[in-house]
């Protein structure tokens, strides 16, 4: 199995404060890999430095074998990687269709096939084709943000907390879509605080704590790991006994 993304000894700091400390991980082609951890563990910083929004302090980031660390976001996204940013960040003043089109900004070929594919994945978006994205509900905006990312035909999609601020039923829908996209051949790097859902969806997971990776394993292994359970899944042995 070949790795689509390889991160080696990555460090990120903001004016002396180290957010990410020498982490290394790989994302194999065709898999869902998740980074879980608490607030401030450095998950978002990791994604932001991979895509070039933050310049990494040290480390190598290889996408399909090519070094991308230190390049600008435009250069990096043109190599076949994209990020669904935290908080969705759809363009509120653009219509749903325009949001999809702008997702394919770098492409020059016909978009019709991809737009139809996105509308198949997200029928709600098709209904709201001409609506301004700002008028959509949170869940619909998250769908739009994912669809927009798909429009650039990336080899790998990174998602930063896609479940943030959404109702449980909608969260389930988002994870169903993540699995579906993966089934259709896209590699996914997922950052989540909702460890339970993320580990169930992922083939492989990494646990981040204060800027370092403390554990790694398959999704099932981590989900059944006692320390992970205690810290992220809310299953404390003592409490369980009481319940």
């Amino acid at each position: 199995m070949s790795n689509i993304l390889e991160v080696k000894d990555l460090s990120v700091s903001y004016g002396g404060i180290k957010a990410v400390k020498n982490i290394s991980f790989q994302v194999p082609k065709g898999e869902i890999v998740t980074l879980i951890g608490a607030n401030g563990a450095g998950k978002s910083s990791t994604l932001r430095s991979i895509v070039g929004l933050v310049k990494p302090k040290t480390g190598n980031i290889k996408l399909n074998g090519k070094e991308i660390a230190g390049k600008t976001p435009e250069q990096i996204v043109s190599q076949g990687i994209t990020l669904v940013p935290e908080g969705r960040r759809v363009f509120a003043d653009l219509t749903v269709l325009e949001n999809l089109k702008i997702g394919a900004y770098m492409r020059k070929d016909s978009l019709e096939e991809d737009i139809n594919w996105c509308y198949d994945l997200f029928p709600r978006l098709k209904e709201r084709n001409w609506q301004l994205a700002g008028t959509l509900s949170g869940g619909e905006q998250q769908m739009l943000a994912i669809a927009r990312a798909l429009m650039s035909r990336p080899d790998i999609i990174m998602m930063d907390e896609p479940s943030l601020g959404l109702a449980p039923i909608v969260v389930k829908g988002v994870f169903d879509i993540i699995r579906e996209i993966n089934k259709q051949g896209k590699t996914i790097l997922l950052v989540e605080q909702n460890a339970n859902m993320a580990l169930r969806a992922a083939h492989h997971g990494y646990v981040m704590e204060t800027g370092t990776i403390t554990l790694s394993g398959t999704g099932e292994e981590l989900a059944s790991n006692e320390s992970v359970k205690a810290a992220y899944l809310g299953k404390n042995k003592k409490n369980n006994a009481v319940r």
Partner: protein, 294 residues
């Protein structure tokens, strides 16, 4: 009827001046829309366009000097952004604003150095400087052309922003730089494009404006620049239709006031209007409502 024929020249002049303000105001409002910067140098770019016309027309025929003015002004606007604003992209907004004021004085003083401070005679552009009669009022042809040309350019610009790819990128970038970059949009090219459009329209505005006036001095850009800025604020800064409507209102009111014999107060009116707007409706006629929904 007599009142009408007496005031018609002022109304015509007002519409014409309004169109010229509109062309300048678009530059302010577009730059503000994308960078949240009041480009204080914009009025001086307008003045520089006037000077280029004067020097170009002495050595070459009109059909070369007019395109040259447009191109040279665009190049200057582009360079100002690259040299004075781009390096400050991540600096606090106050720094870039002070840089803009610096560019404004730089251009004024360069013009002072080159012209020696004397008013330079603006050339008469054939055809548009001709005198014509409209409904009994005698005026220059430029007065009649200006509003139409302005509206054509504004429609073209709005279509560009609404229907083209670069226009979509401009709208996206004006809301969210970071996410736009994730889409592969080159933010710097989008910003340059904004300055290019703004400078081009200012150059067209200067061709029309100075045809009605005899001379160009180094500080001549300040007053029209300031009024165009007021127009942009009046219409709601960041909004192109707002800037255009604001500019026409200011141009017409100003000249009607002149027609009533209160020429001395015409400038004061513009700025009084600014104060009233800022108190009554700080976001202007079509200003964006600030929605901070997460």
């Amino acid at each position: 009827m007599e009142w009408f024929s007496r005031n018609l020249p002022y109304l015509l002049a007002g519409i014409s001046v309004g169109g010229q303000y509109a062309l300048i105001a678009i530059g302010y409002t577009m730059v503000y829309g994308i960078l949240r910067l009041i480009n204080f140098a914009h009025g001086d770019i307008f003045m520089v366009a006037g000077l280029i016309m004067i020097y170009a027309s002495t050595v070459m025929p009109m059909y070369i000097s007019i395109p040259l003015v447009l191109v040279a002004t665009v190049v200057i606007g582009f360079l100002v952004e690259r040299v004075a604003y781009k390096p400050l992209r991540s600096a606090p907004r106050m720094s870039i604003m002070i840089s803009a004021i610096g560019v404004s004085y730089l251009l004024q003083n360069l013009a002072l150095y080159i012209t020696g401070g004397l008013a330079q005679q603006y050339p008469a552009i054939p055809w548009i400087s001709d005198t014509i009669t409209v409904l009994g009022a005698t005026t220059k042809r430029v007065t009649v052309i200006t509003p139409f040309l302005t509206i054509i350019l504004v429609i073209a610009l709005v279509a560009l922003i609404k229907y083209t790819k670069i226009g979509m990128a401009m709208r996206a970038a004006s809301k969210d730089f970071e996410t736009s970059q994730l889409m592969g949009i080159k933010i710097n090219s989008v910003i340059s494009m904004t300055f290019i459009i703004g400078s081009f329209l200012a150059a067209v505005g200067s061709l029309l404006f100075f045809t009605n006036y005899t001379g160009v001095t180094p500080t001549v850009g300040a007053m029209p620049g300031l009024k165009a800025f007021v127009a942009a604020v009046f219409g709601g800064i960041g909004s192109i239709p707002g800037a255009v409507i604001g500019a026409f209102i200011i141009g017409i009111c100003e000249n009607i006031i002149k027609g009533m014999g209160w020429t001395t107060f015409s400038d004061a009116f513009t700025f009084a209007l600014l104060i009233v707007i800022l108190i009554a409706k700080p976001t202007g006629l079509f200003g964006e409502k600030s929605t901070d929904k997460v």
